[in-house]
């Protein structure tokens, strides 16, 4: 796969004066980890939802490029981890995984095997029979990533996957992301944690007020703007005013 092509994409919510996403062009090359950064309300989640096909853009186009051919977004190729945990609290982890596996159209045998593999990776084997509402925040986050990987997608999109997560879980999530990337998966990742993005991502894109203000390799960008870290660059580009 050659990546995701986003051309002149725009979205304005009903009743809002400003565009949430305003004429954005972005290329997410296949096999990379791309970090999508920006202050609160910059339009990151809106852009991610449109890439996933969960929100219809007002204008512009998003497509997947594969072997030189362009096609529309196909949910079978994408695994999505939303900001908010979306598992059913009253179901056990196993039941949640079964349910989503079946919704993805997977065979029972395959689901069983996939669950075994993934719970080992995410260190959740001992918690399979627990109701999700009884899992800790870190476990819940890992479980959500696990669901997104059930159908072995080529693209993984994570919306702030490490927000509010303990250090051990965060380290594990980073490790998994790197491992998936090493297997050739394309990863799009939004975060407020700039150090984390700098450490993980081969490409970063900074959004503000619905526009894309910067895209490139973190080291190259820092060098170009003569900054020592991403946080300094981020403040320089987006200002010091608090965004709520």
């Amino acid at each position: 796969m050659d990546g995701i092509q986003i051309s002149q994409i725009s979205k304005k919510y009903n009743g809002q004066f400003d565009f949430a996403v305003n004429r954005i062009d972005l290329t997410i090359p296949a096999g990379t980890i791309t970090g999508l950064l920006g202050p609160n309300g910059a339009g990151k989640t809106t852009l991610v939802l449109m890439i996933c096909g969960l929100l219809k853009p007002d204008s512009g186009q998003i497509c997947i490029e594969k072997d030189g051919k362009r096609s529309d977004i196909d949910k079978r190729f994408i695994g999505f981890v939303p900001q908010q945990d979306g598992l059913f609290g009253e179901l056990t982890l196993q039941e949640n995984l079964w349910y989503y596996g079946r919704l993805y159209g997977l065979e029972k045998v395959y689901i069983q095997q996939r669950i075994q593999d993934l719970v080992n990776i995410f260190q959740l084997t001992a918690h399979l029979s627990k109701r999700v509402k009884h899992l800790s925040g870190g476990m819940n986050r890992r479980a959500n990533i696990l669901v997104a990987l059930l159908h072995s997608p080529e693209i993984l999109i994570l919306d702030e996957p490490t927000a509010g997560v303990d250090i051990h879980s965060r380290a594990l999530i980073h490790e998994v992301i790197r491992e998936l990337n090493s297997q050739g998966k394309t990863i799009l990742y939004t975060s407020h944690l700039l150090a984390e993005a700098q450490e993980l991502c081969q490409i970063i894109s900074i959004m503000d007020y619905g526009r894309m203000i910067l895209t490139g390799n973190p080291e190259a960008l820092l060098k170009k703007h003569e900054m020592s870290n991403l946080e300094g660059l981020f403040i320089a580009l987006t200002g010091k005013a608090v965004r709520d």
Partner: protein, 435 residues
Amino acid sequence: MNRRRITATIIKERILLFRDPGGLVMLIAMPIMLIIAMALVQDGPFKDYQDVGFKVVWVDNDHKPLGDSLRAMFEKSGRFTLIDSYKGIPVTEASAKKLVEEGEYPLGVLIPKGSYSEMLNRSNKLINTIGKASGQPSIIPVRPGVDSLQITLFFDPIAKATIRMAIQNGIEKMLFKIQLDLLFDKMNIPGSSSESQDMEGKEYESLLADNIIVENLGKQSMPTFIMSSVQHNVPAWIVFAIFFLIIPLSGNFIKEKKEGSRLLLDMTPGSFIDIILGKVIFYSLFGLFQFLSILIASRVLLPLVDLPVLEMNQSIFPAIVAATGISFAAVCFGVLVGSLFNTYHQAMMFGSVTIVILSALGGIWVPIEVLPYSLQLVAELSPLQWGLSLFQDVFVRGITWDRFFLKLCLLIVFGVVCLIISTIHHDLQKKKVGF
């Protein structure tokens, strides 16, 4: 449509619902308590209350002064509206019986040909009898034998015994007055109308008795029984209870929207209709389970509190079909409420108040024949009335299959329309806000 997705959703919903034993008990136990309470509370009023007005299917095959006088008395009472044509076609004996049997009208009156002639003959006989007693020879020719006027009343099978009795007595009284007026007229006694009301008339009663035939309508196989509060309340409140499924179901939808599950569900490839159908199938089956539980509990528990036993005049199969149709309509309405509203409070308030309004209009609280005419028309638009009417066919009237399927189709069409609106709304929401 994807069978795998639908089945997975059915299983998921079953687990979710049965993981909430408190909620489950509420869904079964509360309606049973409601039915017992309502049957007890309404038991007395059901025996005594005065009905406010009736539409009467009127067939006058005699076309003589008897019919005209009786008609004038009915109209003068202000409690009856006489119907002698239906959809522009004059009502015949057969069509009148069909209309009443199907519950379209609560009462029918048939004045057969020759009734007035028989009444005249009786008057003549009476004059001869009085003349003979005073020593005068019989001078008016009469036909031999005493026959009934054969005026026939037929009631909707669900009409209560008190209503039947009151109407029968009222008509007897009207006939007595007409006959007495006729008699005084022949005897040239002026002002008979006002006087006749004060007369005891005991000596004439032997001649005027048995004028009315009351015909029981409904299926031949249906045993006749008294329409009690139990017979009204159990089917009525079962419909009500099934429709209350919209509260947990709409809550389930809103919870998914609010807690982020909807995003993950939308992210799975395939149509969201699969997920909706899974929920609809599961909750419709649960509604059926609810129906059977309440039915069994009613038959067992109500006699323990000195209420009559619920009569089941049909095999259980049509009742199950009816309950499935009602559940389907209720569940689809729940899907619609869950789709349209964004908070649990909005959905709960709208859902519960709507059910109460539709049930009040739909004959759940009181039979619709006691509602004002304008509300009776509105009642026909209530899905709860369609459901109740189905159950009344099953429990009381007896089933006429074309009518049964018509009402079942109404419920199904209502459900399908709700589902279509929900799906369109879901797609529009997705375009606007993403979830």
